[in-house]
């Protein structure tokens, strides 16, 4: 049972998160909360031309929301901005697919481990929290950013 939601990969990211902590300099920051469960996350995006140079983050919440942020960091750091938005879109599609979307490991990497979460409507928001914050921050960074240097 539990394996469907809490894949080993998710637990690994939760226990040993990648790239956690807020770093400077950054181009834009976004803070998102999930009022029903109190989860919150802050995401900072640093660009280098059209490359996502860094995604740094900090927050509190359940394993799903925290592991998801770690996966996000791993997948998007170093990628092209447009490519990052494509990955983001693919992850959102997977999460909103009620378990009926087949994830593409080439695009989503460790993100495929969240496929099972899509079957738990109450947890989809947790998985998406950091991605929504990233989307926000990245869009603003692209649009000129606030350049906190």
């Amino acid at each position: 049972m539990s394996e469907s939601l809490y894949q080993e990969i998710i637990l690994d990211h939760y226990k040993n998160p990648n790239g956690r902590g807020l770093r400077e300099p950054f181009d834009a920051e976004s803070h998102h909360t999930n009022p029903t469960c109190g989860d919150e996350i802050t995401v900072r995006v640093t660009l280098d031309g059209s490359t996502v140079a860094d995604v740094s983050y900090d927050g509190q919440g359940c394993s799903i929301s925290q592991a998801s942020a770690s996966v996000l960091h791993e997948l998007l750091t170093g990628s092209d901005v447009q490519q990052a938005f494509d990955v983001e879109a693919a992850f959102v599609e997977l999460m909103q697919g009620r378990g009926e979307v087949e994830p593409d490991e080439d695009i989503l990497g460790d993100g495929v481990a969240f496929a099972g979460v899509a079957r738990y409507p109450a947890r989809v928001k947790c998985a998406l929290l950091s991605w929504m914050a990233f989307k926000d921050a990245a869009a603003r960074a692209v649009a000129g950013g606030e350049a906190h240097r």
Binding site: M1, C37, Q60, I64, R123
Partner: protein
């Protein structure tokens, strides 16, 4: 571990009355339903009564001279009689049906704020103070915040002590000559605390304030006599006491209900209507606009019969035993912190706790995989979480059908949670 616990109830037989308790969950797990403070399960007699009502007696009430209409009216008004008796209301006319406890609380708040009361005392305005507490359900916070915003009245509240009790050290300041309304929860839905109703009523009445008690978590679990409680208005909800969803109750002293202006306008609550103006029916109908939740009231009547048949004192005693057992076992679990009173004194069968380094969502999710249904989150009482500096809690809540084996399943589940996440 199998623990045999003495109970004044024949819990095995009681459980047979609740069809859902035999439900097998996904993966053929048995159900351990520890979420009764959220909503209770429904016994067979309640479901049968509702079905029979629709199949044999369905009609609108108070409007028809035909046989079905008379039967439906007798059933609906008969439910009012049952509920009046259940809470010791001096008069059946003091029992108003609402859709839930939230509507009942809003009815009181809205009518006091509307400015339509004949007696100016019943019109809130600037300078008036409304007193609530930090352990209220959102349904007893938000209506008063909105009312304060509309009327210019001031909202004040009692804080909490570290062990989950009301901090009444400042009672004579918080409740003072400017206080018009004191509204508080009888038993907390998040920390389980049973509040000292008489002490609050006494002080409130000393300064001439109206007392509203939110008994949503009290009436299902203990014998409640509204006149003994001493409140002016007392509210509860059907779905937490073996009744259907869609029905709540406002009891009020006749004099107070009479003084409040109408709330919702419409059919049934009127005396006579002309385009130029209308007059209103006497209570309780004054507050029951439109077709009431007829089958739901009838179902709640059956719930009250069911509970009375078992005896509310026995239900209460059973829950006390289960709660004592749960507290005892939880106290022994490494990494578990109980939020709220951790002894059985003045508390009901609702226990919130945290597990170190594991978010409540993860606790709840893993417990669900064992078939143990608990609630996680802020339980519509977020100020309590803020007060104790936690984002959320895991809450196990008990009822007349709860067994010690289910508590054991909870404890085993928590151990598994720790193995998984630690």
């Amino acid at each position: 571990m199998v623990h045999q616990m003495a109970s004044p109830l024949d819990v095995d037989r009681v459980r047979k009355d609740f069809p859902i308790l035999e439900r097998r969950l996904a993966g053929d797990r048995p159900l351990a339903y520890l979420d009764s403070a959220n909503t209770s399960q429904k016994p067979r007699p309640v479901l049968d009564t509702i079905a029979e009502h629709y199949e044999r007696h369905n009609a609108n009430v108070a409007r028809a001279v035909h046989q079905l209409g008379e039967e439906a009216t007798a059933a609906y008004e008969g439910a009012r009689d049952k509920i009046a008796a259940f809470i010791g209301a001096p008069s059946r006319d003091e029992v108003v049906f609402a859709k839930n406890a939230s509507e009942a609380l809003n009815l009181v708040a809205h009518t006091l704020a509307s400015g339509l009361a004949e007696d100016p005392w019943y019109r809130l305005g600037p300078g008036d103070e409304i007193v609530i507490t930090e352990m209220e359900h959102h349904s007893n916070i938000v209506p008063w915040q909105l009312v304060a915003q509309r009327t210019g009245a001031t909202l004040r509240w009692f804080g909490l002590t570290d062990d989950g009790r009301l901090d009444l050290s400042t009672i004579d300041d918080v409740i003072n000559a400017r206080t018009k309304v004191v509204s508080f929860v009888h038993q907390s839905n998040i920390v389980g605390t049973i509040n000292p109703v008489s002490r609050l009523v006494e002080r409130a009445h000393d300064v001439g304030a109206l007392v509203v008690v939110d008994g949503s978590q009290a009436v299902p679990h203990m014998p409640v006599d509204v006149t003994e409680a001493g409140a002016d208005l007392y509210v509860f909800t059907g779905h937490k006491m073996c009744g259907p969803t869609g029905i709540g109750v406002l009891w009020g002293r006749r004099e107070v209900l009479d003084a409040l202006p109408p709330f919702l306008g419409g059919g049934e609550m009127i005396e006579t209507v002309a385009m130029e103006g209308s007059t209103f029916a006497p209570v309780p109908h004054k507050f029951e606009a439109g077709t009431p939740p007829i089958a739901q009231a009838v179902g709640l009547g059956a719930a009250v019969d069911y509970l009375s048949g078992l005896g509310m004192d026995k239900v209460h005693e059973h829950e006390r035993n289960i709660t004592a057992y749960a507290l005892e076992r939880l106290r022994d679990v490494d990494g578990v912190t109980i939020i709220g009173p951790d002894t059985s004194t003045d508390r009901g069968g609702t226990v919130s706790f945290t597990v170190d380094r594991v978010h409540p969502h993860d606790v709840g999710q893993l417990l669900d995989e064992d078939g143990v249904a608990v609630r996680v989150g802020h339980h519509c009482a977020r100020p309590v979480c803020l007060r104790y500096g936690i984002p959320a809690t895991t809450r196990a809540s008990f009822y007349l059908y709860t067994t010690s084996a289910e508590i054991d399943a909870l404890i085993d589940g928590i151990e598994r949670v720790k193995r998984f996440f630690w």
